[in-house]
Amino acid sequence: MANTSSLAYQAASITDRVSRRATGRLRRITYQAGDSFLHRLHPLVKLAWLAGGTAALFMIQQPVGVLIVLALAGIAFPLNNLKLHRIRGLRLFAVTALLLFLTQVLLTNTETPLLQFGPLHVTAGGITRGIYTAGRLLSVILLSYLFVLTTEPNDLGYALMRAGLPYRYGFMLITALRLVPLFEQEAQTVYQAQLARGIAYDRGGLKRFFTLARQFFLPLLVSAMGKVDALAVSMEGRCFGKYPRRTFLREVAFTRQDGMALGVLVVGMVILIVLRFWIVI
């Protein structure tokens, strides 16, 4: 008895620590306030750059091109006062990219090997493909980080609405932004309330799993429904949805820098398309 229960306590406290760490990590991949070039850029221009950059990565057929994009994305971090080493989730992606690289190198086996370890071959083609795949993955991730870290999601929502997105959809995004941290906090409270009442996350079994899931999600669901009711009263009570269009207090300025950034993107994309389809790179 004493042994099994002490095991249960350990399991519960480990779950506690893991859940804390997980929520901590989630928080780190969010907007970082700042006043850099990228921070000041119009959210939609940044979105266009993200889309353009991703498209470019899939058009470029040479690993050197991929490496150039990767290097540019990497340099953009210090240039915009973003500290690469402080983004924790990045390590996971770096390891994934490295594994991807190694698999490509070791499993590509089409020509005379440069090196050979038993059944494993290292070929020039393998290295090329490795750089190509891993570089593409890392580049897309870095570009996304650049966007997410410098763009306030709320500003993005309003910018999209100003650019013509129907406001009902825009406010879906804004409502989600508002509610997610609330629900996160509530999930933490429910979890703590369960610990306080001795609900331990220790014993296995499918039935037990479903009981635990119900005990966790039902309180969350009930409280979420209450929140949604209150929100609906608040929105309709202030005439949300009265007219097909609405006005906005916010003026999202389109600056000269935005114009230049967009111009550079358009020219770059045109050059890439020409190179890709007429002069194959």
Partner: protein
């Protein structure tokens, strides 16, 4: 302004009428206070006035609700919204945006007002709620009281003729509560708005000389100019526990130079406290002063960043929460966050089963507790079918069944009417007399005065007062914290008066 005739309402799927035969006339510019036990239909009436009952909810209505000549039952919600504004209980839940400016502009943008007029109305509304300095802020960074002021400003900016406040201060500390009532006073001074306030805290409202209404079981039961018709029974002499500060007994709680917080930021600083059996400790302080953090440390939900916490002889840094939890019960603020089982009976007996303390004795105790909670015939019901007050009683019954030594209670009286609150407090008092200890975070000074033996008052994470209850209030009075004093110590009437302050034990 408002005419309600023979109005009854029943939510679909419910046999009980939430509102029954309501007849009410309210003149333009009148100030009306509506009180009554939780679940009596006050909030439903507020939803009816705002027209929400007939737009968002399914149900069966009879009778008439006329506001400003408009038949609310058959008017689109947007037209009702031009006349009636509803400020809800929880500021967090009613925000539609993320920043102060967007929030106040929200209702005006939806009405397609031009930018210049939005700006003008925003200035005006922010001035009335005294929140000009919050203009550039994000809502998430505001305190509870600041949030509620912004919520009021957002409603005011839409220029309603009737403003309904549904328990606007139930989530707020006394300082912020006083501010909200000052805001309501300012609205009365500057605007000819009809105001309806649903509120338990009647002491704050006397200065408005309002018309008092009381609801019970869906009916308006007393309509009077006399506040005494709705105020509580006068408090009887303090029936405090016999065992006061038994120096000989080992302490249940011992914190030594405790520092704690979140993400490396210390919320709690240098707190050293010992709490022994037979103590009923009231914990007070502004929101954000560290009260909840302190309580979380006592169950080990939060580990000390510096210093030590010992609960029933266990170091919370070493003992897992589930072990400390066998000696210390924790009840959270929101009843919905802590109902896990499928029936009332399973819910009440969940913890003793989990802790391996289930036997015929606890079974008998659980049965007795549920009877006492008025849930004796509800054993097979789902906990979520209970009313708010019943859920709260079940929460407490569910931790009383395994007889822990220490009760950690985080604002469990929020939204509870005085009768229900008294019932919960008497249960706790009986446990204290039997040698348990209670640590209760609560904002009502009268409750602390009547039930607690000791006061802990937090100020910016530090323990500013730790004294027997009467001495504690005297210290608060010296610190100029009048809003935290029971009304018989401030000389009645909540609007804070400086100069004449009594420091004696009333």
């Amino acid at each position: 302004m408002i005419t309600i005739r023979n109005f009854s309402y029943r939510f679909s799927g419910s046999e009980r009428y939430a509102l029954r035969d309501i007849n009410l006339d309210i003149a333009p510019g009148e100030f009306v206070v509506l009180t009554g036990p939780s679940g009596c239909g006050k909030s439903t009436l507020a939803l009816a006035l705002g027209g929400f009952l007939f737009n968002q909810y399914d149900g069966e209505a009879t009778g008439e609700v006329i506001i400003g000549g408009m038949d609310v039952r058959h008017t689109p919600i947007y037209d009702v919204a031009e006349v009636v504004g509803l400020v809800q209980q929880n500021p967090e839940a009613q925000f539609c945006t993320l920043t102060v400016q967007d929030e106040i502009a929200f209702g005006l943008e939806n009405r397609c007002l031009p930018r210049a007029e939005i700006l003008e109305r925003m200035e005006w509304a922010l001035n009335i709620v005294d929140a000009q300095h919050l203009k550039g802020r994000e809502l998430a960074t505001l305190s509870g009281g600041e949030k509620q002021r912004v919520a009021v400003a957002a409603m005011l900016a839409t220029r309603p003729q009737v403003l309904v406040f549904d328990e606007p201060t139930s989530n707020l500390d006394p300082t912020a509560t006083a501010q909200i009532f000052d805001v309501i006073a300012r609205i009365r001074e500057t605007e000819a708005i009809t105001v309806i306030v649903i509120e338990h805290k009647v002491e704050y409202l006397r200065r408005f000389n309002p018309r008092w209404l009381r609801m019970e079981g869906g009916q308006l039961s007393a309509v009077s100019r006399q506040p005494s018709a709705v105020s509580r029974q006068p408090l009887v002499q303090n029936p405090k526990s016999k065992i006061q500060n038994p120096k000989s007994a080992a302490p249940l709680v011992k914190t030594e130079r405790l520092h704690a917080g979140y993400n490396g930021h210390h919320v709690l600083r240098d707190v050293s406290v010992e709490i022994g059996p037979g103590e009923f400790v009231a914990v007070m302080g502004d929101n954000g002063s560290g009260k909840t953090t302190f309580l979380q440390c006592l169950l080990g939900l939060l580990k000390p960043a510096e210093g030590r916490v010992e609960v029933a002889g266990q170091d919370t840094r070493k003992a897992p929460v589930s072990k400390v939890a066998q000696r210390a019960a924790y009840v959270f603020q929101n009843p919905d966050h802590q109902l896990f089982a499928e029936t009332v009976w399973q819910e009440a007996t969940l913890a003793p089963r989990n802790f391996g303390a289930w036997n015929s004795e606890t079974e008998a105790l659980a049965t007795a507790l549920l009877d006492e909670a008025g849930l004796g015939n509800r054993h097979a019901d789902h906990p979520y079918r209970l009313s708010y007050g019943e859920k709260r009683r079940l929460n407490l019954a569910a931790v009383l069944t395994y007889a822990p030594d220490l009760f950690l209670l985080d604002e469990i009286l929020i939204g509870q009417d005085p009768d229900n609150a008294a019932r919960l407090l008497e249960w706790l008092q009986a446990r204290v007399t039997a040698g348990s200890a209670v640590v209760l975070i609560n904002h009502a000074p009268e409750i602390a005065q009547r039930y607690a033996t000791r006061l802990l008052f937090f100020e910016a994470g530090r323990l500013a007062v730790d004294a027997p209850i009467a001495e504690g209030f005297a210290q608060l009075a010296r610190m100029g914290r009048e809003v935290y004093l029971p009304s018989d110590l401030t000389g009645f009437g909540k609007p804070v008066r400086s100069g004449t302050r009594s420091t004696t034990n009333g």
